[in-house]
Point group: C2
Chain length 447, copies 2
Amino acid sequence: MSPTPARIIAVDTHDIRFPTSRELDGSDAMNPDPDYSAAYVVLRTDAADGHEGHGFAFTIGRGNEVQVAAIDALRGHLIGRSADDLCADPSLLNRDLIGDSQLRWLGPEKGVMHMAIGAVVNAVWDLAAKRAGLPLWRLLAEADPAWLVRQIDFRYLTDALTPEEALTLLRRGREGAEERTARLLERGYPAYTTSPGWLGYDDEKLTRLAARAVADGFRQIKLKVGADLDDDIRRCRVARSVIGPDVRMAVDANQRWDVDEAIRWTKALAEFDPYWIEEPTSPDDILGHAAVRRAVAPVKVATGEHVHNRIVFKQLLQAGALDVVQIDAARVGGVPENLAILLLAAKFGVPVCPHAGGVGLCELVQHLSMFDYVALSGTTEDRVIEYVDHLHDHFLDPVVIHEAHYRAPTAPGFSAAMRPESLARFTYPGGAFWAADLDERKKGQAV
Amino acid sequence: MSPTPARIIAVDTHDIRFPTSRELDGSDAMNPDPDYSAAYVVLRTDAADGHEGHGFAFTIGRGNEVQVAAIDALRGHLIGRSADDLCADPSLLNRDLIGDSQLRWLGPEKGVMHMAIGAVVNAVWDLAAKRAGLPLWRLLAEADPAWLVRQIDFRYLTDALTPEEALTLLRRGREGAEERTARLLERGYPAYTTSPGWLGYDDEKLTRLAARAVADGFRQIKLKVGADLDDDIRRCRVARSVIGPDVRMAVDANQRWDVDEAIRWTKALAEFDPYWIEEPTSPDDILGHAAVRRAVAPVKVATGEHVHNRIVFKQLLQAGALDVVQIDAARVGGVPENLAILLLAAKFGVPVCPHAGGVGLCELVQHLSMFDYVALSGTTEDRVIEYVDHLHDHFLDPVVIHEAHYRAPTAPGFSAAMRPESLARFTYPGGAFWAADLDERKKGQAV
């Protein structure tokens, strides 16, 4: 903490968009042409240490300006607040944001407004970790369990998880934490890769990238499916023949199907031994996921990147709808809500394999899985963090993959900060890239 | 339809806020100080008939600007489109809006972005009804059932309701429709009133307004509960003693409780014979509502004003979690999604009693219940539309309550249009009311 009282003096927002749709990177059955984007926020204080808190919501292009407007709507809750108090107890802000009854109407706790809260809350945790001089995973893993429990909003959870149960889980998780920290720093956390399997890639590119993934040491890859069954059968056959029988192959439908269709389609792919079927149907369909899981076993069911809050995760677990919980660092209300989801998963004994990719999602979510390993679940068995090799060079502290493992970050903070030159270049529509692009289009129209 | 081709040439948006928090109108356990607001949209065409399509999302104050920004983000899907085509088949627009993969990421189908889609879709239906010269309820009730089915997006519903089942329900609903239309035009549709029961009102005001409600012929009133149990017991006792044993008294917790607390609290109020407990817990908690319903019967369980889409309603019905479906005209994706929800309710045999109040929600939702009566459920038994006597004078075609019934609207359209002078006066922050308000505050600070 800084010697003189520090206050938050600015909440700067940025509309950042990358033209990823031009390469079909990130293409899947629901999202054919995403422009990976971030509604990005920087909290500045008047402290002499110069630390800033960075956070963002991830979007895929159009509407990123709406997401920025939602973060702007939170400014009044931040300006002038004591950064010392907030970093000592970030739950103060969380309660104010979630509890703002007028803003709550716009959710509640879902969609644009909730992602905005997540961005701002994550920015405060980034600031807190920087001021503590620790990477976020380590700040969480070393925090007093009772303090961690106080960070969490248990509203609507107590029929499945009480604060007392959470405290017990966190205290138990602390046993052997030092050894696991040492192992994590040495080995890293296992990753799987989605890079070979985008729907827009042809078989040659799929073959080449799948072979490279295995050569790089990955033990799991993922393929996008759901647009055309014959194509999916062909692509699964190609991928399986390249990676052999022992490397896991997950498939991901990105919500494309109704329940009955999900069951039929997954069964049609079963001969290729898919490890999990991801997002077989709407992320809102708890009972639907449960029906799919009953029907497609032993293929596992995974979801979470679009699950909008802890209340839906609670029910997915209560209903026995999931084999794999896929948290996303920038969809729910930030670190404390993800702590609640990690605790729910631990209570129900379901492994957490985060969603990542996009812009900076790998950078953020690695911290949450590493905390989970060191101080909660205590294992990496059947646990992998998604890895996609896009856009990391725009970050100041990008993820490092070594032998198919995420290296544990050692720099203080949440690894959320983008390079200033990237922020400037890809600001929409005024940044250098988009201004030039607009110019070209105008010329194209003139010709 | 107009004789020459008509196109949509403008999508005008307005940030409209009413200072309702100053009277504690609308106060409940979760929303102590709402400023009832509308993110309002007007579609203009180049047709000679001069008809406009009006729609809005309802919010309660802060964040209304975010909701407006979300509507603005849809403009590109509207400008230049054929109004003739859209009015002949509004589903064309619906599919484009819901199917915009980049915008979809901001939901999917929930929160700010989905309410924006609902506002725009409802505006198109308003325009279509005006051009057809019919009030919306009548346009729907007289439409070809097969055409109506084509308006509906059955994605994620087919495990509970197929297009074929919907068609059967609509065809059966058409039997006796003319008689019911005549009866509706004569008698209207039954209403209940929430006006006596706001949490911010003292016992004297509760007594006075409850007595007036009974004198006015209402057979059901509603009380807000959930802030303090002793207060609730006292207020329920007061209200029950005023209205007598035969008038129904619903209670509404506005999501205040966890599951176990909802059960305890509702049981503590059971001696006053509440008809339903509304929003006992999170609107996302399907399994929680089912648990509450099992525990508190014969008190009924009602929810829906914050249920964000048809997929959650589907599950609430599949799980046996509801006795009463409370649709809201401006929360989900507009008329077609509410048609889906009405059909789901009909399939499961659960009555629909809409949420209303706010700004213009009574004006809109009456059309949906009247369609339901005339051409789907065929009955008003155990069915009532909420009525709150706020802010109707700002509408060009306000609801008319006569002997505790909504009179059937006869003017063409969806009754969505606000008076131009109200739009001008309550535009935030530049309209005359808010400009003067800001001026006063500045003077107050100067003194």
